[in-house]
């Protein structure tokens, strides 16, 4: 049966924590290539800080995906919420204490509408969210007039730039949201049912799971988290910028898919997503510091997304097929396997 040593080896295997190995490899490459730029504490602090919003966007994509809805509108949701929060502050003149809850509610409402389109109108999630994404982009342009919204007042900036122990607030917010998401997804009955609804909705329904309710709920939660990311984005750049939000989609989805290959053997999961997101960000940062042109970002994320999904497929089939794995794992096993 499983020995302790076997369990440790499996936990440390490339298949289980490939992102960590990729990180080590990238770290080594960039440290040797551009040590004077790459090995600066400031670089790492700004990375931690800047990518916290990507992390939130990734969680906003992760939660609906666990329950079975691939959300292609995450970027637009972040962007729309960013513009909305700027507009509420500058044009509607709401105080921050009202503006933030309003943005989160609006984000949740967007998730609700998406969820109802998917469950009631029976539109495939990928189509529903693609359509929703376009609608939100239109909404952003309408609200902002395709211009930056600038006059946000002096206090709002503090939310995303204030620091505690040298680390900005968004990092703590991401940590809090990640812990809460992890808790719900992996430690509660609701999370269990969400996974079952995502894996096999029909079997889950027959097991008494309210599949549609969970799907809608997951999109509402994802919408609120995306809105939080949007509000922080506006605070961070101290302006409502209609061009920034949509660019969150690819890094977020890439992190979620690469994350699914980490730790949990093919399941979408919170910590895999967060780790993958930062590993990918380190790669991008290193390339930028090395002086690559901006389009390398898109190239990098596109390749990473495809590789991440390919990796998860490989993981699925390799469980049975890999000759090397069989040789390694078959040693010392008797034909009757694990019957204790």
């Amino acid at each position: 049966m499983t020995t302790n040593r076997g369990a440790v080896l499996r936990a440390l295997s490339f298949r289980n924590i490939s992102a960590v190995y990729i990180f080590v490899a990238m770290f080594a490459v960039f440290s040797l290539w551009i040590p004077e730029k790459f090995l600066q504490p400031g670089v790492w602090r700004s990375l931690l800080d800047a990518e916290a919003l990507t992390g939130l966007a990734a969680l906003a994509a992760l939660i609906p995906l666990v329950a079975g809805s691939l959300n292609l509108a995450v970027g637009a949701q972040v962007g729309f919420s960013a513009i909305l929060s700027a507009w509420l502050l500058s044009r509607a003149g709401l105080p921050i204490a009202l503006q933030l809850p309003a943005v989160l509610l609006a984000g949740a409402a967007i998730g609700l509408v998406t969820g109802l389109v998917i469950t009631r109108l029976r539109v495939e999630p990928i189509i529903a969210t693609l359509g929703m994404s376009s609608i939100l982009l239109a909404g952003m342009a309408w609200i902002s007039g395709s211009q930056q919204i600038l006059d946000l007042g002096p206090d709002y900036r503090w939310i995303a730039t204030g620091q505690l122990g040298g680390v900005t607030f968004p990092v703590y917010i991401l940590l809090a949201v990640a812990v809460a998401s992890w808790y719900v997804l992996e430690r509660t009955p609701v999370g269990r049912r969400m996974y079952s609804a995502g894996f096999n909705p029909e079997a889950a329904r027959l097991a008494g799971v309210h599949v549609e309710r969970l799907r809608v709920g997951a999109l509402v939660a994802g919408g609120a988290i995306a809105a939080l990311a949007g509000a922080l984005l506006t605070s961070r750049i101290n302006a409502g910028d209609p061009t920034v939000g949509p660019s969150f989609l690819l890094p977020a989805l890439t992190a979620v898919f690469l994350g699914s290959t980490q730790f949990k053997g093919g399941r979408f999961n919170v910590w895999g997503t967060i780790i993958s997101m930062y590993v990918l960000a380190v790669g991008i940062k290193g390339l930028q510091l090395a002086g690559s042109p901006r389009w390398v970002n898109d190239l990098f994320y596109g390749l990473a997304l495809i590789l991440a999904v390919a990796l998860s497929q490989w993981e699925r089939t390799a469980r049975r097929g890999s000759a090397v794995g069989r040789v390694l794992r078959g040693i010392g096993r008797r034909p009757d396997g694990g019957r204790s």
Binding site: T188, P189, F199, N200, A203, R205, L206, G325, P335, G338
Partner: protein
Amino acid sequence: MTGAAAAPLLRVIDLVKAFPDLVALDRVSLRVEAGEVVAVVGHNGSGKSTLVKILAGVHRADGGMVETAPGTELHFIHQDLGLVGELTAAENLALAKGTGPASVAPSRGRTERERTRALIGRFGPVFDVDVPVRGLTPAQRAVVAISRALDGWTHPANVIVLDEPTESLHRGEVDVLFDAVRRVAADGAGVVFVSHRLDEVLSLADRVVVLRDGRKVADEPVARIDRRRLVELITGRADVSSPRVRDRRGEGEVVLSVRGLRGATIERLDLDLRAGEVVGVAGVLGSGREAVPSLLAGATAADAERFTVSETAYPRRSPARSMRRGIAFVPGDRGRLGAVRDLTARENVTLPQLRTLTGPLGWVRTGAERAEAGALMREYDVRPARTEQRFALFSGGNQQKLVMARALRDRPAVVLLDEPTQGVDIGAKATIYEAVERAAAGGAAVLVSSSDAKELLRICDRVVVLREGRVAAELSGAELREPRLVAESYGLA
């Protein structure tokens, strides 16, 4: 062809296949001559599925080889049939053809449909070939798959591999299929027939190969073997499927009562289920038999004049509400509906009810959950009893034991079973029958819908026979005999 028939069509020599946890095939050899039907039988986990998968090229063997005579092709009908659910029967048949340049030629819908109808007609009544096969009954899907495998052979010296094709067929259809198989064999084809159903094996095969734990334990002409011997070879012990002595249970309270139930293929059903009894539902394909458990469980939409559980009206039905009322449902399509394949055994078993396993702040107490799942797996003899193994990695029989364990976990008042032993080996069958007995003895009302008459006779107190969506007969006591049951099913009584 017959002239050169000295060489076998298919030769399997010393095949070895090892998985991380077990040796699935241990030097298995096999030969199929032209015109011969070779049955391969064995428990779940005996290695017969692995053998088929290697022949089909799904797995690669670790040792040994597979040889075919020159020009001989292998054709497969797998248990899951390999049909594209969204395509119609005609389109599924056309899929295998038109490769190469022909694949971009316009398809001729009308001709294809007529061909399909003609092919299907060989197996019995022709059904609608223009609806997606997903909407057909399992038996109709099997007919489509079989038609496809036999379609368009250029010469007869091929080998057809039937991997448990009769799982969802009723007796009459099995006979039609067997006639077709015999005809193909008589023309000079070789047939490999993999099945759990020993009676079928004995009636169809010329030779029987028995696998146990990855080894070949027998390879004999069917004439030299009988059912008892076959069971001994498969299990390594004596026959376990002898009919039990049915002790008529006392009249319990009516737990579930329906009047005028109507939905899916059921026109009208009146039924009372009493505590402590096992009620069978029999009927041929299209009788509505397969719809009953799912309608009663609220999984399929249905109208009813009256639907009460423990004398309380139950108007708006859903699986979740049924569960709260103590109605457990085991669907027939285990792979698709029975459980969530990508969750572990533990997660599947506890999925319907996690309330008793949660601590403060609503977390799941994993230790307690693991202990409970482990205890259930041992109680239902699930092998291996590993709570953290993914459901998909268990063999068919053990999957079904898990699904049963889940259904019976909270001592439901009503247990609805659809084909509870379909595609399950003899050992698992015995475990499942025991579980049914125990549930009934514990006061549950059990309903079993099954295409297997012997199964109903063995475990049921009474059997409701359906025909064309209505109750045709109800048999119990001395009337509950196989000839009568079959006669009523076909409307011959």
